[in-house]
Every structure is written in structure tokens, then in C-alpha cells.
Symmetry: C2
Subunit: 163 residues, 2 copies
Amino acid sequence: MPSPRARDAAPSARASVGAARVARSVLDDDAFFHLARAAAVAIGEGNAALTEHGLRSRSYSVLALAAVEPGPSQRELAATLGLDPSQVVALVDDLQSRGLVERRPDPSDRRANVVVATEAGGQLLADASVTARATVERVHAGMNDDERATLVRLLKRIAFAAD
Amino acid sequence: MPSPRARDAAPSARASVGAARVARSVLDDDAFFHLARAAAVAIGEGNAALTEHGLRSRSYSVLALAAVEPGPSQRELAATLGLDPSQVVALVDDLQSRGLVERRPDPSDRRANVVVATEAGGQLLADASVTARATVERVHAGMNDDERATLVRLLKRIAFAAD
DNA sequence: TATTGTTATACTCTATAACTATA
DNA sequence: TATAGTTATAGAGTATAACAATA
């Protein structure tokens, strides 16, 4: 359900206008600038594509991590996604209210919850991941498998301080 | 001036915790997910580093583009940065109030402004860009020049639909 | 004394609509 | 009729603080 708007100066859209000026500025070789711009495009495209499944980039990521046995704690979700634990509460609340994940008491620590995907959550994730892959494919048009793998590998180093 | 907080579960910090779970989830080869995570790290680190110059990632980018003669219109700034024109107003207002950029009437179109960096703005940009480069360097620790250039090249394709 | 999940709040960022002055 | 800049506002995301239950 994207917006019913004309999208004149569409915010999260790809720019083709200012590339020449960027190239003449100090931003030309600035990895952070290009990272931020590319991510804005990715999140925008991702959100638009995932609404068809009632998800957004964030909730998709939570669901994806909750689908890995034996299920993360909310604390781990926060650390992995770079969020504050208080933000995870709302995300899990939403997914739980729709029957996509469950909070199970951690048997080894009664303070903690283990967040696990339900059968329905797993099915939705399977569908949504197909959409997600297709969206990446479309936005990456012209990038071959080698380049895509290289991109992900380099991004992981920044995001997770690892190769 | 970063926050005076303990940073227990520091939000925009690099995750080293959940990498193993990510690797076992559908997010493992998801370029969008890693793009979003890496950008969050980059924007966070960038903002923290640039506050020393009274700038943030956004205002730094505006200043950088305004420093390229003959200066962009606000419309062009919006398109290049993927922002709505209404957001550019506040960014330019802030920089102008601090004497870093000027709004000059476009001689060929009385509706439009041309945003140009002042002498002070140019000097601040020069200082800030040194900080920015050092920050990228630090976060990219372990990435060689080739890899960094490859990363930027691939990000440009996503951000600007070009190579 | 420290940690997990939670609630609350303020601030930034994003998205949309509408107005004005020009073209 | 369309476009540049502006104002306004609501929603999403980010950042901090504090509290109850548990370790």
C-alpha cells in the first residue's frame, strides 16, 4: 500500500540529478555519504515491497532472526539490530499480536524471553523473503553475483566488524 | 560532544553479538539488511565526529554541495540528497544563520535560490572533511584502498543508478 | 550490585499536504 | 497549469532515563 501520491520530488528515490555535483564535491569518495544514500534507497524500496506482507524492514529483520532456533532474547535482538532494547518491545509486541512470533520464558533465566517465530510467522517469512530478494535484484540491476557478494562482504565488515 | 552515557546497549554501535545468528537467517546474503546496518553505524559515527564542527551528516552534505560553484538550487539539493524540499529549508536556514552558506537569488529564475558556501563555510568544510575522512578510515580499519573504492563504486550504483 | 524487559519522554527524521510567488 | 520555496503536521525512528523482577 504505497502512498497515493504523485511522487514529484520523491524523497527516498534514487537521484540521477546531482551525481555530477557530488562528483565535484568532497563527497565524491566519501564512503559514509554513499552508504547513507544507498541505505535510504534500500530501506525505502524494502519498506514499499514488504508492506504487501504487512511488514517493514525492521519487523522483517526481527522475524528473520526469531526464525533461527532456538530463538534470540530481546536483548540479543537489540544488539544484533543496533536498536535500543526499548524499541524491540514495540516490534515484538506488533509481531506477537499478529501471531507471527511468541515470547517464551527462557528456562535458564526467568528474567529473559526467548522470541520464536510461529508456524504462521515462518510461512510469512518465507513469502516475504522471496519478495525481498526480488526487490534487491531489481534495485541491483546490472550488478553481477560477484559484485553483489563483494558488496555484502564489505558491508558486513562495517556493520559487524568482521569479514 | 557525544552523550555522557554509559553506552551499555549502545544503539548505533557495531554489533559483534548476533553475527552468527544473522549468518543462519535469511538475512545472511541480504544486501539491503547489511546496507541498513552499515549505514546506521556510518551515520552514527559520522554525526558523533562532526559535532566537533557543529555539523551533522546532513548539514555536512549540504555544505559540501553548496561549495561546488555555481551553487545548487534547493530543489537540486533535495533531489541529490533524497530529501523532500521542505527538509532542505531547515537545513539551509541553520547553515545560513551561522554564516556558512548564503541564499542568492537565481538571476535566471526569480523563484529559485542558489545556495552557495561562504568563505567561512568553505573553511569549515575543509576542516570537517579532514575529520570525516579520518572517521571513515577508522571505521574501515582493515579495508584497503582497492576495497574501499570498490565499495563506493557499488554504492553509487544503488544510490545514483550509475557506475 | 547488575541485568532483562518494560514504560515514558523528547528529539530527529520521514512523509504529505497546502500555500505564495513566480514561470 | 506547473514549479521553487515555504510552512505545517503527523508518523516513524533514535536516544535517554527510570523502574520492577530477577540474577
